[in-house]
């Protein structure tokens, strides 16, 4: 009797096993399709595998900013310009610089001043060598600068500012007395940075050009000293 039961049970098990195998997903078959079949069968809801919790958290898009390069320095200056033979007058202008390395920078400058009277005009009474518009002294220059002595300045116990003494030289053009002249410029300056983005400049420059305004051809030296304020961005 017992043997008969064993045979029956074994037979039932042998029949059921391939069926179980058929129920299992996988074996190269489409898993999604399998799930669909399982879900659609209403008769055996207990066979539906427990669903894993689907993450419903959206991925946060994190954009990493480009590293901002603050190599451009723009600003304005005001000072005094001594125009050879024409006295000293105020000068003002704009500058834009690009710092290529920690040592070297390019600078474009534009400045304007007004010439005074020559001693000949002053002594001669009513003599006017130039018209008012011709007395306007306008220049621009393209210069190369070198930070010769970088350093640091300490004010009191808690304030330290970076600084640099720089040399510069370049070429440009000057419009004066109704003519434009090729101009060489060279000079030195001191740059002080109260913050990383703000700089105060004290600069002395000489602008040299050929002039035949007073009878004979000569090289004129026009020296300016000015105070500038620039911003890095």
């Amino acid at each position: 009797m017992e043997t008969v039961f064993r045979v029956l049970l074994l037979g039932a098990a042998a029949l059921a096993l391939p069926g179980c195998a058929w129920m299992l997903p996988g074996r190269g078959e489409d898993v999604a399709a399998q799930e669909e079949i399982v879900l659609s069968s209403d008769e055996e809801p207990t066979l539906v595998p427990p669903r894993v919790i689907e993450p419903e958290v959206e991925r946060r898009e994190v954009r990493v900013a480009r590293i901002d390069a603050e190599n451009i320095e723009v600003g304005a200056f005001y000072g005094a310009l001594s125009i050879e033979d024409f006295g000293t007058g105020p000068v003002q202008g704009l500058t834009a610089a690009y710092h290529v390395t920690e040592d070297i920078f390019f600078e474009a400058a534009f400045g304007r001043s007004k010439a005074g009277r020559t001693s000949y005009e002053t002594l001669g009474g009513n003599v006017q060598l130039l018209t008012p518009s011709e007395r306007r002294f306008t220049y621009y220059s393209l210069s190369l600068g070198y930070n010769l002595l970088p350093g640091e300045v300490y004010i009191g116990r808690s304030l330290a500012m970076t600084s640099a003494l720089y040399l510069m030289g370049g070429v440009g053009s000057t419009e004066f007395a109704g003519d434009q002249r090729f101009t060489l410029n060279f000079g030195a300056g001191y740059r002080l940075l109260p913050t990383d983005w703000l700089a105060v400049h004290i600069e002395v420059q000489d602008r040299v050009f050929q002039s035949d305004l007073l009878g004979r051809d000569k090289l004129t030296n026009n020296i300016s000293a000015h105070l500038g304020l620039t911003v890095f961005f």
Partner: protein, 242 residues
């Protein structure tokens, strides 16, 4: 303490912002932070291996960074390059070296030379479509004995071998020229004419981001008179790429 609080506050603010600062992990034993953006400034802090830091901005080859404790300082690009991204991959930046010279995006330079007998001062800006082809904008002033003037031109240049230190290039373009004869001469009126040019030159890599450019351009000026004018231009430019 106050600095640390400010730093922490800034970090929290950065977390909420949609755009985050670049964060790096020190992969070397340490990274040195200098007081100023220069090789001579004292090293005031070090960031040890495994610590993260934020890159705030860059000035020339120096990077302003902020550590997790909120301390700020300047690190050299050589040191920054040794740091890793948080996922472990290497951090790369555009460097001013020979590889950068071969392949870059922009050029800016100042020129001096001779423009049909007059002294020339000029600048040029170039945008590179690829390593060999570039769009150039040139602005110049020329100062001569007989006349002064300005020119503005746009053109294309083709660099033969951008990977060579000394490489020839060809240019082609056009623009406008304004000639202002000096008042003492017979032809007093100013005139503006169109120009076209063809030229050739060589560029030579110096060091870091700098290179020299020697160039010849042959200009054809389309005047309103019976004859067109031809002008030869020779110039040397000192330029940098970025």
């Amino acid at each position: 303490m106050a600095l640390a609080l400010v730093g922490a506050g800034a970090c929290l603010a950065a977390d909420d912002a949609p755009v985050r600062l670049r964060e790096l992990v020190v992969a070397e034993p340490y990274i040195e932070l200098h007081e100023g953006p220069g090789r001579g400034y004292a090293v005031t802090q070090v960031v040890p291996r495994g610590d993260t830091f934020q890159v705030l901005y860059r000035r020339t080859e120096w990077f302003r960074v902020r550590t997790r404790r909120g301390v700020e300082g300047w690190a050299h690009e050589r040191e920054i390059l040794k740091a890793r991204l948080p996922d472990g991959s290497p951090f790369t930046i555009d460097l001013g070296n020979r590889a950068g010279f071969t392949s870059h995006r922009f050029e800016l330079g100042a020129s001096m030379g001779d423009y049909g007998g007059a002294t020339l001062i000029g600048t040029y800006f170039a945008f590179l479509f690829n390593e060999q082809l570039q769009l150039e904008l040139t602005g110049a002033q020329f100062l001569g004995n007989a006349s002064n003037g300005y020119s503005a031109e746009v053109g294309l240049a083709h660099v033969y071998r951008p990977d060579w230190r000394l490489s020839p290039f060809l240019t082609l373009g056009g623009g406008v020229i304004r000639i202002e004869p000096k008042s003492t001469l017979v032809q007093p009126e100013d005139r503006t004419d169109q120009t076209a040019y063809a030229g050739a030159g060589v560029r030579f890599y110096l060091t870091r981001r700098f290179f020299l450019r020697g160039e010849y351009r042959h200009h054809m000026v389309f005047t309103s008179r019976n004859e067109n004018e031809e002008i030869n231009e020779w110039k040397l430019s000192f330029a940098f790429f970025f």
